[in-house]
Each structure stands twice: as C-alpha cells, then as structure tokens.
C-alpha cells in the first residue's frame, strides 16, 4: 500500500470524533477531525486528498450546507454523510448535492468501510468508479417494473408497510422484493441500494444530470 488514506471527520460531538478516529486509525486510515463545517472549510485548500465523513445534524451549518459549500469551493474530496436512523430525506438531499454515500448512525465497521471504499474508488480510480456506477445503472435498468417501483419507493424513504399498502401486496411480498433487489444489484444492504439508486438517477427529476458524472466530466 502506498501512503495511508486520509479521512476527515466533521462532527460537532467529541465522543463521535474520538470513537470514529480510534476505529478508523486501528484499520489503518489516517484521521483528522473538525468540530464544525466552518473549521473544515477554513483549511480546505490546504487539505491533502482524502474523503470527508460529514455529520448532517450540526449547529451553525448542517451537513447539506457544508456539502454545498464544498461544491462551490470545487472540492474534489468525496463526501460520505452520516445521518440519523430513517432520515432518508436528508440523505437523499446530501446525495443530490454530490455526496457519494450516506451511512446511518450508529453504524458498523463494515458499513463505514463500504462507504469509504466507494469514496476512495472515486478519489483514486475515477474511471473504475464510473464503470461501477454505470454497471449499477444497467442493473437498475434491467430490474423488473415491480422492482423499479420498490426501488423508487425506497428512495422516497417509504417504510415496508407503506409500500405494501401502496402496492396492494402483503408485507412478505415486499420483503421478498427487497431481498431480490439486493441480489440483483449485488449489494449488501438497502442503504447501498439507495447509493446506487441515487447515483443512477432514480427518484430524480428528468433532465437533471447526476452530480458525479458532472464531477467526472470536469
């Protein structure tokens, strides 16, 4: 391996900064922490390449605003957003603003590693990342109509019950559709399905370009 991968943690809470730092360092990442978006943006120009692990719920400036500021600054640091449980709306907003992935608090080592893996893929091998996204988009395109509906509803943040009710099927059927969706898209979790979904433009208004393709075209 070459030099250690750099992760910048932005969270207003010390316990999160400390614990995540320890967890990531133990796994070989280099970690720097910031207690707010402002303190990150202040030193942005001087930052070495790396990924940003960004909390969405922060006083002063929340994660979405920080993401927007990063876009404006032309930052090339891929962003992974940390959200609360079931906060798909916020996550979707962050992905639309160019975040690579989102993870729900609390998260396991595996989850954060998957997200960071994707982020570093984009940072280090952007063409592979694009290929990955295109493959995912193909996979999404080849989904059955029913599965596409499920995916769209997941992207809207609908619960299983709401989906079952809206689609007129029972809960078991929804569970099965979700499981099939995971295997078709070759991912481990619904969260990752959503990463792909947003990357592939599911749940997005027609005519909008994907943020990552825009980034890649730069």
């Amino acid at each position: 391996m070459m030099t250690k991968r750099m992760v910048y943690i932005v969270d207003d809470e010390e316990a999160i900064r400390r614990s995540c730092t320890l967890m990531l360092r133990v796994q070989g990442y280099e970690v720097a922490t910031f207690e707010s978006g402002v303190s990150l943006l202040n030193v942005l120009k001087a930052l070495a390449p790396g990924c940003i692990l960004l909390d969405v719920r922060m006083p002063e400036m929340d994660g979405i605003e920080v993401q927007k500021a990063l876009n404006i600054e032309g930052s090339l640091h891929p962003v992974v957003v940390m959200t609360g449980h079931g906060d798909v709306g916020t996550a979707a907003a962050a992905l639309r603003e160019g975040a690579i992935a989102f993870i729900e608090k609390p998260f396991s080592k595996i989850t954060v590693n998957r997200a960071l893996h994707l982020a570093f893929l984009k940072l280090e091998r952007p063409h592979d990342y694009l290929a990955h996204i295109e493959a995912a988009a193909c996979a999404v395109a080849s989904l059955s109509e029913e599965q596409k509906i499920v995916l769209a509803k997941l992207a809207e943040g609908k619960s299983n019950e709401a989906m079952a009710a809206e689609m007129g099927v029972d809960m078991a059927a929804v569970e099965m559709l979700r499981a099939r969706l995971l295997s078709e898209l070759k991912v481990e979790s619904i969260t990752e399905v959503l990463w792909i979904a947003f990357a592939a433009g599911v749940g997005r208004q027609a005519g909008e370009t994907t943020s990552f393709s825009r980034d890649l075209n730069i």
């Binding site: 316990a15 400390r18 995540c20 320890l22 967890m23 449980h85 608090k105 080592k109 809960m171």
Partner: protein, 629 residues
C-alpha cells in the same frame, strides 16, 4: 195560712187567687148568715154556704172548692156554738152539706177537664189553620220568589193550570194569557215539536219524573236553552192527576261553561307547549295532572298515570322513600325541595333513567294542598357537558402525544450519538484485540472507559424520555375510577365499533375511588386499550374487557383483556422494556411508559395469558387512605 198564701202568690198567682176567693166568699156567706139569724132563727144554717162552694168550684176549680167546702163546714158549725153542737139535727145538716159539697166538687172537676179538652182542641185547630195558611203563603212566596225558575202546573192533558211570575218573565206570557193553553206551545209550532212535548209528558207519566235540556220558545218567538224538569203529581191512590213543570234558563250557564272549557283548553295548550314537563300531585303523592312534555319525557300517557303515585317516576331509593318525604314535609313544613329545586334521577317507562332538574311549587286551594313539579331534562345538557369534558381531555392527550412524538424523535436522534460512539469503540476494540501489545492495551482501556460513559449517556437519554412522559412529579387527586375509565375508553375506542370490537366494562362497586394522576392513568388505559384493539385486528373474536376489582383494602386492580393472539414467550420477557416492539411501526415505548407511570403511582403492571386466549394486562392502583374516624 198567711205564709202559704204568699208562697202561692209567688209561685202561681192564678191558683192562690182561687184560694183567696174561697176564703173571701165563705167569710162573706158567714157574715150574711149572721145578719139573717134574726129572721131564720137557727134554721138552715148550712144552706147559704152552698153558694161559695159552688162559686169557687165554677170559678177557681177543684182545690179552692174543697177549701171553700171545709171553711163553710167549719163556719156553719160555729153558728151553732156552743149550745147545740152535739145534737142530731145539727150533725144531719152538716153531713148533708158535706155530701152536697163533695158532689159539687166532683161535678166542678169534670166540668173543668171537659172544658180544658175542648179548649185545647179549639187552640189546636186555630194553630193548624194559621200554619196551613202560613205554609201556603210561604210556598206561594217561594214560587214567586224563585225568580230564575219558571214553575207551573198542567193538568193531565198538558193544559196550564198555574203560572208563577218567573214563568211570566221567562216565557213572556202573562198568567191570564197562558192559563188553559197547552204547554206544547213552548216547544214550537211544528208537528214534531208538539209530539216531542207530548212524549216528554209521557215520560214523566211513566217514570214519575222527566228531566232534559230542551230548546224552549218564548212568546216573542226567541229561543233559549232550558233545563226542564217535569214531575208527575199523583193523587192519594197513586194515580197521576197533573204535572208540575220547572223550567230554568241555562243559556248563560252553558255559555259560562263553554268559556270555562275554552279557558281550560287554552291552559292545556299552553301547558302542552311548555318545554318543561309538569306534574301535579296531591298531598298523598297521587298524580292529578301530567303534561304533554311529561308524557314525552317519561314515556307514559297521561291516562296511564293519573291516580297513581308519583313515585313510579323515580328509581330507588327515592321510589320507596317518596311517601316518607311527603309525610315529613306535611309534618314538619321544612321544605327540602319545594322552592329550592334539585337535580334528581327520573325513571322512564322503558326502565331507563335520566338526570333531571326538579322544581316544586306548593299551592293551597280551598281544601286541597297541591304540589306542582316542573321537570327539566338534563340529558342533553349533561351530554353536552360530557362532550365538552371529553374534548378537553382529548386535547390534553393529543397535545401530550404530539409533544411525546416530537420529543421521541429528538431523543432518538440524540440517542444515536452515544450509540454511534459505542459501536465505533467496540469495532476498534475488536480490531485492537487482534494485536494486544502494550500500546494497544492502553488504547483499549481508554476506549472501554469511553464506551461505559457513552452507554450511561444513552441510558440517561432514555430516562429523560421516560421522565418526560411520566412527568416526574405527579399531580395526584382522588378520582372516581369508573368515570376515569369511561373517559379514557371514549378516546381509546374511537372507531373500534367499525372494526367489530365489542367493549365490556365491569366495575366492582368497592373498587373506587383511587388516588392517581388522572391524565397519566388515562394514558396507561388508552395505551393498553389501543394495544388490545390492534392485537385483535386479525382475530375472529374481538372482545375487549375492562374490569376493576378490590384486591386488598388499599389496592385496586384494573385489568384490560383482549381476545387477540396473545404474547409469545420471548416477547413476554421484554414486554415492558423500552424499544422492545413487535409492531412494525412501533417505537416500543408504550408499555415501558405504562410501567413507568404505574410504578410512579406505587403500583405494579404485568401481562398474563387471558382465560380464553389473548392477553390480559393488570395494573394496581392505590385507594386513598381513609382518615381516621
């Protein structure tokens, strides 16, 4: 003699004057005989004394005559004194005089009694004549004075034989004009009318008396409604000789009666439209009036209740005691309800009861004491008040629930922070243990102490949430348990009937009141009932039972049982733990909040298997401690 005379004079002048007369006449005869002695020379000495005896007998009766005879005998004997008193001729003369005197006295007695009898007869006859005359006069005056009653007689054919002045006034015919005419003239000229007149007489002839209200015609042709009475007047043998007719103009009376009737109807119509029910009873409690509103309110027709005791409109215990209430008032005159008005319970014909406001007034008429009760149905007003109360409590619960929702979401996010830290430390610790060198152990130690701190922080957040729900400090008050449950169930059972759920409530009468924070306990009840309703959604039997019972003198148990699928053994363990939910959209806070609330009240909550399957939640509440004495 002198004193007797005075006595007699005092008692009876007439009688004493008779005896005085006897003495006087005898004295006079004695003096006269003395004067005649020179002529008679000792002969017929007694003869002259017959005159006073006879005179007394005739004039003064038997008593004075006897006195006169005795005095005369004595006087006669005195004339012979003293030389010839004992001689035979003297004795013969005195004896003859005595016999004659006795005869005279006897004759006088007979004469006097004959005279008295004839006198009595004479006086009696005079009396009779006077009385008969007076009665006749009085009768005539009465007939004449009966200004409103035309009274006349007819012969057997109906021809008028007598005519009083009232008849003259009433019919307009003078006595001279009418006598001898047929009384059918008052009925009219038509054939049918004269037949009716004849028929009425016939009725009187047959049954002795006939009475009816008939239109009669005056001399001037005008009509009036008359109360006509015809009496058959019978002779000694019982044969009908004539008829007496009495005719009374009732036109005015009829009009007055009709006016009264009209006023009565008017009054009735007013009472019928008064919204309050009105019931009039006498002093025995017997209903004598029952208004239309009362009929509607109680479900009885007036005819069904009149004459019955008003207590039939009350449930027990008033029903049994009402007569005693009345008697107490009549005895003591201390009103408990009269003029005061109270809210009492009424009993309808169908057996249902309702709250009512009763105002009672007392009326004294001539000889009767009446009580008039005005009844105002409070059902609607109560319903309205209850509804208002319910809305208020709904509002409290809803605002509380929504505050809880916001709070829960805030706290859930907040909870993620320590949990994230915990997860991260644990992941790091796991990795560090793969290579446990000195440095890593030191890091691990630090990590574990942070881990504990974060776990405790998470616990503190949960506690804050529970404290928020249970509010920490409780505002306890003494509450009626059934009322509290009814209010809570009104909210919890919204829409349950549509889901085919039947709710049953069994309240033990001694299991109330309780000392609780009403809103919190209602929240527990709402939570348990909503859970039960949700649990039964997929079951064929959907019966919710809420039961209260007294399990010891200080503790009441409330149970909420359903006929749902029951709770799995694994879940049973964690039932009351926070965030343990089997519901797909549940936070898992409901039962944990219930437990917090119940325990804050010093009670216990548990779930058991209900008798017919399903789940029964039981919780205990404290009764207020009774003050000594």
């Amino acid at each position: 003699m002198g004193s007797r005379r005075i006595e007699s004079a005092k008692r009876q002048m007439g009688r004493s004057s008779g005896y005085f007369l006897a003495a006087a006449t005898v004295t006079a005869a004695y003096v006269l005989r003395l004067q005649l002695e020179s002529l008679l020379d000792g002969r017929v000495r007694f003869l002259i004394f017959v005159v006073p005896v006879l005179f007394c007998a005739l004039a003064a009766g038997r008593g004075p005559a006897i006195l006169a005879a005795i005095l005369s005998l004595g006087a006669g004997l005195a004339l012979f004194l003293p030389e010839r008193l004992g001689t035979v001729p003297v004795l013969v003369e005195a004896g003859t005089f005595a016999i004659v005197s006795i005869f005279i006295v006897w004759i006088a007695g007979r004469f006097a009694s004959e005279k008295r009898v004839s006198e009595w007869h004479r006086l009696h006859a005079e009396d009779e004549a006077v009385r008969a005359h007076r009665t006749g006069e009085e009768l005539r005056l009465m007939l004449e004075g009966a200004t409103h009653y035309a009274i006349f007689t007819t012969d057997i054919e109906g021809r008028i034989t007598t005519w009083n002045s009232a008849a003259e006034r009433l019919f307009g015919w003078s006595e001279a004009e009418i006598l001898g005419r047929d009384c059918a003239i008052f009925y009219g000229q038509e054939r049918a009318e004269s037949e009716k007149a004849a028929a009425d007489l016939g009725s009187a002839f047959d049954s002795g008396r006939f009475s009816d209200e008939i239109w009669q015609i005056r001399k001037d042709g005008s009509e009036f409604l008359a109360d006509v009475t015809i009496t058959a007047l019978k002779g000694a043998e019982g044969e009908v000789r004539s008829f007496g007719k009495m005719v009374h103009d009732v036109t005015d009376r009829r009009a007055a009666e009709r006016a009264l009737e009209k006023r009565e109807q008017h009054l009735q119509s007013i009472l019928a439209t008064v919204p309050d029910a009105m019931i009039v009873i006498d002093e025995r409690g017997i209903m004598i009036s029952f208004s239309a509103a009362a009929e509607r309110l109680f479900g009885y027709a007036e005819a069904d209740v009149l004459g019955r005791n008003v207590s039939m409109l009350m449930p027990n215990p008033d029903r049994e005691r009402h007569d005693a209430y009345l008697q107490r008032y009549l005895d003591t005159r201390i009103p408990h309800i009269i003029g005061i008005g109270r809210i009492v319970t009424g009993l309808r014909a169908d057996g249902s009861t309702f709250p009512m406001k009763l105002s009672v007034g007392e009326a004294l008429s001539e000889d009767q004491r009446l009580f008039t009760g005005f009844v105002q149905d409070l059902t609607e007003r109560k319903d309205f008040e209850a509804r208002l109360e319910q809305l208020k409590s709904e509002l409290i619960h809803v605002s509380r629930l929504s505050a809880m929702g916001t709070m829960a979401s805030t706290l859930a996010h907040e909870l993620n922070q320590p949990l994230t830290a915990i997860a991260s430390y644990a992941e790091a610790a796991g990795d560090l243990l793969k290579d446990p060198d000195e440095q890593n152990i030191a890091i691990l130690r630090e990590a574990f102490s942070d881990l504990v701190a974060q776990s405790l922080r998470a616990g503190a957040i949960v506690r804050r949430l529970r404290d928020f729900v249970a509010r920490g400090e409780t505002a306890k008050s003494v509450e009626d348990l059934p009322a509290l449950i009814n209010e809570a169930s009104a909210l919890a059972l919204v829409g349950s009937r549509e889901r085919g759920i039947s709710a049953n409530f069994h309240y033990a009468p001694d299991a109330t009141p309780v000392l609780v924070d009403k809103v919190q306990i209602q929240q527990v009840l709402i939570n348990l009932m909503r859970n039960a309703i949700e649990a039964m959604e997929i079951c064929p039997a959907r019966k919710l039972s809420v039961t209260t019972s007294l399990i010891d003198p200080a503790t009441v148990q409330v149970s909420v049982a359903d006929t749902g699928p029951g709770i799995s053994p694994e879940m049973q363990e964690r039932l009351f733990e926070a965030f343990a939910s089997t519901k797909s959209n549940g936070m898992g806070l409901g039962l944990s909040i219930c437990r917090t609330i119940v325990e804050a009240h010093g009670g216990r909550i548990r779930a058991v298997r209900a008798d017919g399957g399903g789940t029964e939640f039981q919780f205990t509440l404290a009764r207020p401690t009774m003050e000594p004495g």
